[in-house]
């Protein structure tokens, strides 16, 4: 309800995110082709964090700040200061973390890199989690979106905390010194608790809003995120169950997630295909790809649980890429294509600059379509490179670089329009007294 935060407090997150995906592309294109040799390695961890923290979390931190006033009416005080205190330590911490992983992969031990990175990341994420939570706890009323947001932010905190334990393990031995269970927990909280659940919460709001579909049913809004969260809590305390049942238990955790994901993705696909608007919207290409990939990975997961299909290493690599790049990156990409052109128009127009170019003038459909095609090709080659790294990793990496540069240019074009017309409106307003 209240005013949205100043645009500059949020667009820095959006404009930095493509740079990190480009870096991930460089990592693939210029690396030694061994990133997909196994599913647990420092080298892979470097790549994964460029995607999860560098792109997904980077955008989500900004998007959540932007959407909280619209979703629940919560405003963050001193938004520019808050944004800077989160943004700079996060960006620098992430760069150091990735550097730590890469040097480790090449046999160089630089513990100070990891330690410094962790202090910075923990400060930034901690501040974010606590600030958002304290704002949300101020509401007396109960609503599914409020509860969901709290759980999602708590999951981010949990993922970061388990990450800290892993780094501690590294300092005293190696990253994976703890039983692999600790790594599974980190993955669960980060991917299911944070990325997947947040995308759920956000979709419940923006699918009806951006695509003019009916609202999601109340039972989905009410139960899916709490279910994922409760499963995470039970998973975290699985050490209390007798050892004979642990495997069965872990299987169940995976299945719960996969069933929720399959339901959500199929439901959303059906909703989107029934959309009444006829005006072409190329961000739908990303949405449909995203939901198809999520349906695919959850189905793959369920079938594999019943009847193992493929070697474990390949299974985790395929699931990981389908989920992270196929599902999450596509969706976040689509989301930015709505939020940024709209805000670039909304802020100057709100100041009175009604001649601000409209959304399609600053970001023509054709540009969205071209970037989509490059991104899609990059994804296909990335999947192929799990099996034939020597042939396809470099192609995939190069395509990711091109795709991110195009994305970045498209977003920058909008922000430029914003800057020009916002300034113009301010000048006019000050002239008129």
């Amino acid at each position: 309800m209240h005013q949205a935060p100043p645009f500059r407090a949020v667009y820095r997150f959006f404009l930095t995110a493509p740079v990190f995906i480009a870096t991930a592309g460089i990592y693939l294109a210029f690396g030694n082709n061994s990133v997909f040799d196994t599913h647990i390695s420092s080298q892979l961890a470097g790549f994964v964090h460029l995607v999860t923290l560098g792109f997904l979390t980077m955008v989500m931190l900004g998007a959540l700040m932007q959407m909280m006033p619209v979703m629940v009416g919560a405003i963050i005080p001193r938004p520019i200061l808050f944004s800077s205190l989160v943004y700079y330590p996060f960006t620098i911490g992430l760069l150091l973390l990735v550097a730590g992983f890469i040097t480790n992969a090449y046999g160089v031990e630089l513990l100070w890199l990891l330690l410094t990175s962790f202090v910075l990341l923990f400060f930034s994420i901690g501040l974010y989690v606590i600030t958002i939570l304290s704002r949300l706890l101020g509401f007396k009323v109960k609503s599914p979106v409020l509860t969901n947001l709290k759980l999602v932010v708590l999951s981010l905190g949990a993922a970061a905390s388990v990450g800290l334990i892993l780094v501690y393990g590294k300092i005293t031995g190696n990253f994976f010194a703890f039983e692999p269970g600790m790594l599974s927990l980190h993955l669960y909280w980060a991917l299911a608790g944070w990325v997947f659940s947040l995308i759920n919460v956000v979709s419940f709001q923006i699918v009806p809003m951006f695509y003019v579909t009916p609202e999601y049913p109340l039972y989905m809004k009410k139960y899916s995120v709490p279910l994922i969260f409760t499963t995470g809590i039970l998973f975290t305390f699985s050490w209390v169950i007798p050892e004979t049942y642990v495997t069965l238990y872990k299987t169940l955790v995976g299945v719960v997630w996969a069933v929720v994901a399959l339901y959500f993705s199929t439901f959303t696909l059906i909703r989107l295909s029934k959309r009444k608007r006829k005006l072409p919207d190329y961000t739908l290409l990303f949405w449909k790809l995203s939901m198809t990939m999520l349906a695919l990975v959850s189905l793959f997961w369920i079938i594999d649980t019943i009847h193992p299909l493929i070697a474990r290493e390949k299974f985790f690599l395929i699931s990981g890429i389908l989920f992270l790049v196929g599902f999450a990156v596509s969706l976040v990409n689509a989301m930015m294509y709505k939020i940024i052109p709209f805000l670039s128009w909304f802020h100057p127009a709100g100041k009175g600059a009604m001649d601000t170019p409209n959304m399609k003038e600053m970001l023509p459909d054709k540009k969205i379509k071209i970037q989509f095609m490059v991104f899609f090709a990059a994804l296909v080659f990335l999947l192929l490179s799990i099996f034939y790294p020597a042939w396809f990793l470099k192609i995939s990496g190069s395509l990711f670089i091109i795709s991110s540069v195009l994305l970045w240019l498209n977003l920058v074009a909008c922000v430029k329009v914003y800057k020009k017309y916002y300034k113009k409106a301010e000048n006019q307003n000050s002239q008129n007294g």
């Binding site: 309800m1 209240h2 005013q3 619209v70 979703m71 629940v72 009416g73 709001q205 009806p208 809003m209 951006f210 003019v212 009444k276 608007r277 006829k278 005006l279 072409p280 919207d281 709505k338 709209f342 128009w345 909304f346 127009a349 709100g350 009604m354 170019p357 409209n358 959304m359 399609k360 003038e361």
Partner: protein
Amino acid sequence: MENIAQLMSEEHKRCDDLFTEVESDVVDKNWEEGSSKYKRFMTSMVAHLASEEEILFPEFEKKTGSSHGPTSVMKMEHEQMRELMTQIQTAFAEKTYDKLAGILETLMMLLQQHNMKEEHMLYPMADEVLGENGPEIAERLKSSIK
């Protein structure tokens, strides 16, 4: 009896449907048909915005004692809508598809995020602060829109 939130949310839905029909005609380049449907949409919108600004917001401001709160943000967005609606009229007259598609998309986004704020926050708040006067105000809104 309907409360304010129900009545006004249904009104949003009705305007959305009219708007979607206009878009379909624009996509098919049915300029005449589209233009007349657009007039219907505009009449509904103008009445809806006026009913809020002349009945709902003043009553709300009287109860909360502030005209600088949420209603001022809503009124500002109403202005942005009116401006875009005029631009659409011009674009219809010029029959320029690209221009029209761009403004329609922008107006749709503006409307949707605005509706969400009203439906999830302002209307329920209005029902709460207006208390027993709520149903009577809902009736007045209803007759001013129709």
